[in-house]
Symmetry: C2
Subunit: 207 residues, 2 copies
DNA sequence: GTCTATATTTGGATAGAC
DNA sequence: GTCTATCCAAATATAGAC
């Protein structure tokens, strides 16, 4: 008796790749492991994606198109407020990522994959992300600049750089804090997001 | 005419491995690439280290023994002050890493290797680092606890987790800020450290 | 679109001479 | 300690039948 897969071959490959990339890194996860986990044939990767590098990019595209759209939507809402706060802008950045990470199908692992991308310092991947999604960070930087007019451009960029690091690392769950026993994943991540906003806003505002 | 190497085979392997691990990750850098870069024979890795996993651990040990010692030395000095500040403790943590990263022979890349280790979520490496160097973070956490008595234990740990993320990411130079043209590496990193201390102290102190 | 089979390269590790 | 040579497993990728 064969089970009928709920998702297409292509989607199953993307899901398995995401999980294995998060766990073992891009070089550490082989296409054999990916196709075995996805219960598809080895040759299917090359048929659907052409190469491992293309597969990696598609893993990002599948999540980041949506995530970027939502972040900018939220940012537009915040910009329309009569008196937006730093916390509002941080919330516009973090909440869509939080929602993604609570997505039933693999959103949480994706945040770890995304953090891995930052470690790929000189790779084709950095260029792909910056070319395709760099405008999101640009728009947020402009919003922060409006709210922090007392900081000169250089000072602001230093702080944003540090803030992005803190957000990336925390959303990837690289830290040591474990979920409390009995606490739901949702509640844990919502508290984390609140701490992040609180901490980062203070850092950005520092006298 | 043969050049006489300045460093032993063992040291050259460690140096080349460090650089390639930083650039390509642990799985992404092969022993063949490492030995070629070190100008030593492939078999030398297994002779000196036994396996790739052991080589990885030695890359950390070579730097972290010294780094941990210096951090705790500085922390002891700060603890002996009549009225130590949060900034003093952060300085005790950051300055030794800053000095290491300015070390002529490869200190800067090591900070990137260290950041890579955080992404290895469930690996043997995480356990190795926590078993051998976890006590350093413990001691610093205790120092922060003394300086932030208004925070309950859980609140403090959240903030420290976020702070460690910001420090790790920034010291690995994962951010977007480039060194100014004409600015020395030393000056760039010293400014970064000052920004880091300032930002993180504000985050830890947030009302 | 999916499969089997295979070409080709590269990986970690070791044996044994020097 | 260092070398050459080699083993063997695993990697990416493709060709061609179905």
């Amino acid at each position: 008796m064969q089970e009928t897969p709920l998702f297409s071959t292509r989607q199953r490959i993307l899901g398995a790749a995401e999980e294995l990339f998060a766990e073992r890194g891009f070089a550490g996860a082989s296409l054999r492991q990916v196709t075995a986990a996805a219960h598809v044939n080895l040759a299917a990767v090359n048929y659907h994606f052409g190469s491992k590098d293309n597969l990696i990019e598609e893993v990002f595209r599948r999540r980041l198109d949506e995530l970027s759209r939502r972040r900018l939507e939220r940012l537009a809402e915040v910009d329309a407020l009569p008196d937006p706060s730093l916390e509002d802008v941080l919330d516009a950045f973090i909440t869509p990522a939080l929602e993604l990470s609570l997505d039933r199908r693999g959103g949480a692992v994706f945040m770890r994959v995304l953090a891995r991308a930052f470690a790929e310092h000189n790779g084709r991947l950095r260029k792909f992300l910056s070319d395709n999604y760099g405008y999101v960070l640009k728009d947020f930087a402009a919003a922060f600049a409006r709210l922090l007019p007392q900081l000169d451009k250089e000072e602001l960029y230093w702080r944003l750089d540090i803030a992005v690091g803190a957000l990336t690392y925390a959303m990837a769950d690289f830290g040591m804090i474990q979920r409390r026993v009995g606490e739901s994943e949702r509640s844990h991540r919502e508290r984390m997001a609140q701490h992040l906003i609180h901490f980062t806003a203070a850092g950005l505002r520092a006298e």
